[in-house]
Amino acid sequence: MSGTTHLFETLVSPWLDAGYNLARWLLRDEAAAEDVLQDAALRAFRYLGAFKGGDARPWFLRIVRNACYTYLEGRHGLNELSGLDEADFEHLQLRDGRTAPDPADLLMQQRVQAHVNDAIAALPPPLREVIVLREMEGMSYEEIADVASIPIGTVMSRLSRARDRLRAALSVHGAAQESGDR
């Protein structure tokens, strides 16, 4: 017993924050992200025996990612969301209670930050997750492909489309100019 809890602490615990961040960005809901992280951690504990060694971060984030899509499917009464491309997502038009940025916010840094966060949050999940894993987790294309169960070519094309959309959103708000003097 204490052997497997030790294994959990060594392999999985270091990536709990990364898992929470991914869940938070995918679900855009704090309570849901907490529940999904709990679920994914327990699942990881149960399947520690199936882990083949190496870096456990992609292994654990894959569990988190799949738990997130399962959650989204449950909430929207749909099936097989995890295999969809962003065009399919746009057809589905998933709705949730995401709050709008505060228009009265006057601080330059906070305005830029709000725009960046909003722009990422506005991406459809297949594009949002590759941005989170690439830019916030610093993962390689291979690792992202492993987490999202997609070919490396799809990782690269989704990153490209995600960046195009972010560029468009951030240019409109002038975030590019505002961030110039960092």
Binding site: T5, L16, Y20, N21, L42, F45, V112, V116, A176, S179
Partner: protein
Amino acid sequence: MSLQDDELSALIQSKARYHRASEALHADVRARVALAAAAAQEAPKPERRRSWRGVFTQWTQAAGGFAVGVALTLMVSPLIVQWAQTWRQPGDADLVAEHVRSLQAGPLIQVASSDRHTVKPWFQGKIDFAPTVLDLADAGFPLTGGRIEQVGRERMAVLVYAHRRHVLNLFVWPEREATPAQQPSQQQYRGFNLLYWHDGQMRYGLVSDMDAHEVANFQQAWRAHRLQP
């Protein structure tokens, strides 16, 4: 003016919000894993008579035990004080130390069942009293199991409950002198909310990280179930 890829990356990396799990969420995950590990045990282990020195040794030997450093800090001072003291009723420090130890090093549960007709008889022959075992699932506090613990000089029955993401340890030990039943009293110790009461035969100590009002709800549910035939 459009951003290059590397400028965009730099912007995201500096400005995008990285969400970290709260301390409470980290603790909850560890507690649930400890619970799952305990539930995965095939047969209840024979209870160990454990001195405080033995607990300390187990802690230091459990290399990689969760937050051993933090837990040791929490436990060392009460241990030293305890060692020097003559027999007294288990107090806040003792129960909290045992609560934390059970969540981090385990075992949390020796008999895993939500059925009080399984948990209560399990204690028979292992301790010299018969604790009242109630399942308060309809009030949001399901029974998850039990164990036996040596806390100081008292051999206690511990009933383990869950409430949302909280793990509750309800310590039960027999009253030594004939005293009338007392009103429950709430205590705070290192951020944990404790609840003590006794019913004339048994003493109870509830330890958890629930809010005070959730602790009060537990006490109400216990009393309501206790009064049922």
